[in-house]
Amino acid sequence: MANAIEKSKQSLPDKLRQGATVASDWMQDSQFWTSIFRPGSIFRKGYTDSPRNRSYVVMNSVLYHLHPVKVKRHAVKVSYTLCLGGLSFFLFILLTVTGIFLMFFYRPTAAAAWSDIESLHTQVSFGLLVRNMHRWTAHLMVLSVFLHMARVFYHGAYKAPREFNWVVGVMLLKLTLLLSFTGYLLPWDQLSLWAVTVGTNMMGFTPVFGDQVRFVLLGGKQIGAETLLRWYVLHVLMLPFVLVIFLAIHFWRVRKDGGISGPL
């Protein structure tokens, strides 16, 4: 009875605040909420910043699953080789985002490809900027992957137990170079044509199967509309798909092999 009297005396903002708290508690206790936000999440009820909850954050989050709960202290030390592998992965994400944007405005046909790129420069908002970003980021990714490999090589981090991951890394470098090369043809301008002519002529000198390799790459005897479509599919679908598989293996092995290699 006394509670009811006190309740009736509360002001409207207090009532609203109390109602919001009750609703928030009900939502955070519901199965729906707890099935999305796992233990340790800052959106869970009663979260406290403790080592146990920090561990939960990493163990229960898909995003953080790329990382272990803890890393060696020297791994976070700022040095000239910091984050080269991570930066390569980040550049790949940046390339994916800008690449998706470019796909909205590009048709891989011999008649439309060049004019689509030209109109992207002049008629699409931020078109030139995004294309430039895609281009320079691709160059940067090749550079960072190469530097990452150089760092691993010169630090001797390819040795046991990381031999397998080194081989996976070599595959990733090759895939990066292939992605870069297949993207070269897509603007369908003079530079594309002659760069790909030189590249495919070199591949034509493959021992025994040279002519067959060249035919498969070009989709015919010479560079044409079939080549453009073939390299477009390779560039936007097949090679990224294979690269993501190898990336997953690469990240998984990094953790399995004891994390980042230590100083010598």
């Binding site: 080592p51 920090r54 954050v57 990493v58 953080y64 990382h67 272990p68 709960v69 803890k70 890393v71 060696k72 202290r73 791994a75 976070v76 700022v78 910091l82 984050c83 991570g86 930066l87 980040f90 550049l91 940046l94 060049w114 790129i117 030209e118 420069h121 030139l128 900027l129 430039n132 970003m133 281009r135 320079w136 980021t137 940067l140 603007p187 369908w188 301008d189 003079q190 530079l191 594309s192 044509l193 002659w194 010479q222 560079i223």
Partner: protein, 156 residues
């Protein structure tokens, strides 16, 4: 169990006696005094004698305590160095060797990602590479030049 050096035993007995207000007990006859040379471990004594170095025969400082830390194979010093191996060859990981991914590593990665994004945007704003002309197989991209061009001769 590690054998306690004689001079430490003697010192602790003296300290205990002082604390109790009495006089220090005289070590038993079985115990070795500082002067008798037995305070030096026998192995070290033999080693020094073999090396031609005279072993100290007096003074409590001659007693060498066994090293607290040793390398994985029991060695106490690294070859060709005077650095005690235990100090640089940690065989056991300490809790302080690792840090939490959040926020230490993620903060560094986020900063690096922001930096590279800003760099690529600024670079792309100022440096543009427009397309060349539409592809045609009848015209090469660059006007062909004779080798003499690069040698400075005028015959082109």
């Amino acid at each position: 169990m590690t054998e306690i050096p004689e001079h430490l035993l003697k010192r602790s007995q003296e300290a205990k006696a002082n604390a109790e207000g009495g006089t220090a007990p005289v070590p038993e006859s079985g115990g070795a005094s500082d002067d008798d040379g037995e305070t030096i471990p026998r192995s070290l004594l033999e080693q020094s004698q073999q090396g031609g170095v005279a072993a100290p025969t007096s003074g409590g400082v001659a007693t060498i305590a066994p090293p607290a830390m040793a390398g994985p194979s029991g060695n106490t010093h690294r070859l060709l160095t005077v650095v005690k191996s235990g100090s640089i060859q940690d065989v056991k990981a300490n809790p302080g060797d690792k840090v939490h991914v959040w926020p230490h590593l993620l903060a560094a990665e986020f900063t690096a990602a922001l930096f590279i994004t800003a760099f690529s945007i600024v670079f792309s704003v100022f440096i543009t590479r427009r397309c060349l002309s539409w592809r045609t197989t009848t015209r090469p991209p660059i006007r062909p030049k004779r080798p003499g061009t690069f040698l400075g001769s005028k015959n082109y």
